[in-house]
């Protein structure tokens, strides 16, 4: 199975955008993110004192590396595997916390100001995103990109960002609605 270059480039651009917005949000709210990492670690049964800061910085560096791997020319497989693996790692951390009934008021992954509590819906979201990301590791049919191809990559990325934002907003608001009523 081979992936057309327009689809592969769209996937790489979308993954880069996903992680770049995530890393921007984390850097912007680094102290809150460190607290979130600490809460995750307590849920994982590894409340190592002082681990929050280096671990949160490691996550930030990892996400910057994914963005760079997506945007730099070359083999997209590294970017795809890194992105998919990271998303699955987050999903695993969330699943363990959920299974241990460790309520996390914020996943540390939302773009907006409203906290997004960790729920099973977020695990599913990450699983779907990991599947999409790993698709970028498929072999690519190389050809010269036309203007229409470039336009398609840009338009498809915009549409993907808007649809993801809509789906994520629905998840953010669905959580409190389920808990309070």
């Amino acid at each position: 199975m081979q992936l057309d270059i327009t689809l592969a480039d769209t996937l790489r651009t979308a993954i880069a955008l996903l992680f770049s917005t995530g890393v921007t949000h984390k850097l912007w709210n680094i102290s809150e993110f460190q607290q979130t990492v600490g809460q995750y670690m307590r849920g994982l049964g590894a409340p190592l004192p002082g681990i929050e800061r280096p671990l949160s910085l490691a996550v930030v560096v990892l996400e910057i590396a994914i963005v760079a791997a997506c945007l730099l020319p070359g083999d997209g497989r590294i970017a795809a595997v890194l992105a998919s693996g990271t998303l699955l790692l987050y999903a695993l951390a969330m699943t363990i916390n959920l299974l241990r009934d460790n309520d996390l008021p914020d996943c540390g992954c939302n773009w907006g100001k409203q906290p997004q509590p960790v729920e099973s819906a977020l695990v599913i979201r990450n699983g779907v995103l990991a599947l999409i990301a790993i698709a970028a590791a498929l072999p690519v049919t190389h050809r010269e990109l036309s203007i229409m191809d470039i336009a398609s990559i840009i338009f498809a990325t915009i549409a993907a960002v808007l649809l993801y934002a809509a789906a994520n907003h629905a998840l953010v608001f669905a959580g409190p609605a389920r808990r309070n009523y």
């Binding site: 398609s152 338009f155 934002a165 409190p176 808990r179 309070n180």
Partner: protein, 197 residues
């Protein structure tokens, strides 16, 4: 690629992006409406302490570490409104400014306490964000269990003798004020008063 096909493709992308943008706007609007529109009625849903019964005298500690007493005759000369809130409750966030305004207006006869349960660190942050420094904030599972608080925001009004005079799900300022009206009218809820005809 022919110019006509290019035009059709571009048009198709414009339509797709337009639809996605409209979808995002609708989802955001649904979220905003969800925060603004509260469930109808200031319902008394608790099966804990009954209206007219004295609330158990509870010696508690505020998030600041100060001792505080709720219920029983030692509660003091003021009536007590215990507002149960939570950091992840959007309606609580909307209601808190109204409750603090009421507390300041009615300070001559009413003391207002905020209560919740969960992790103290989350509540300390929530308290600071919502400007509740001037109000006692209690994090106690026992308090919520005593009044069987299941949904938020929930208000419990005790009179000066520590007797439960009114309680209910308070989704807006009117619902909070309905607790005071119920006390004035000597009924458990305004619904009961209306039912009396």
């Amino acid at each position: 690629m022919s110019p006509a096909l290019m035009a059709v493709l571009i048009l198709q992308w414009i339509v797709i992006i337009g639809l996605a943008a409209v979808l995002l706007a609708l989802v955001r609007q649904v979220g905003i409406l969800h925060q603004r529109i509260a469930p109808a009625g200031a319902l008394m849903i608790s099966e804990g302490v009954k209206v007219g019964d004295p609330a158990p005298n509870m010696a508690l500690r505020t998030i600041d570490g100060k001792d505080i007493s709720i219920g029983g005759p030692s509660a003091g000369p003021l009536c007590t409104l215990v507002m149960f809130v939570a950091p992840d409750c959007p309606i609580c966030a909307k209601l808190i400014p109204a409750v603090t305004a009421i507390a300041r207006q009615e300070a001559s006869w009413l003391r207002v306490l905020f209560a919740s349960d969960g992790k103290s660190a989350d509540h300390a942050k929530f308290r600071l964000e919502k400007g509740l420094r001037d109000f006692p904030y209690i994090v106690s599972t026992e308090l919520g269990l005593t009044f069987h608080v299941a949904k938020l925001p929930y208000g419990v009004l005790l009179d000066e003798h520590g007797v439960l005079v009114s309680q209910g799900l308070t989704n807006n300022r009117e619902h909070v004020e309905s607790l005071f009206e119920a006390k004035r009218l000597k009924v458990a809820t305004l619904q009961e008063y209306l039912a009396l005809g």
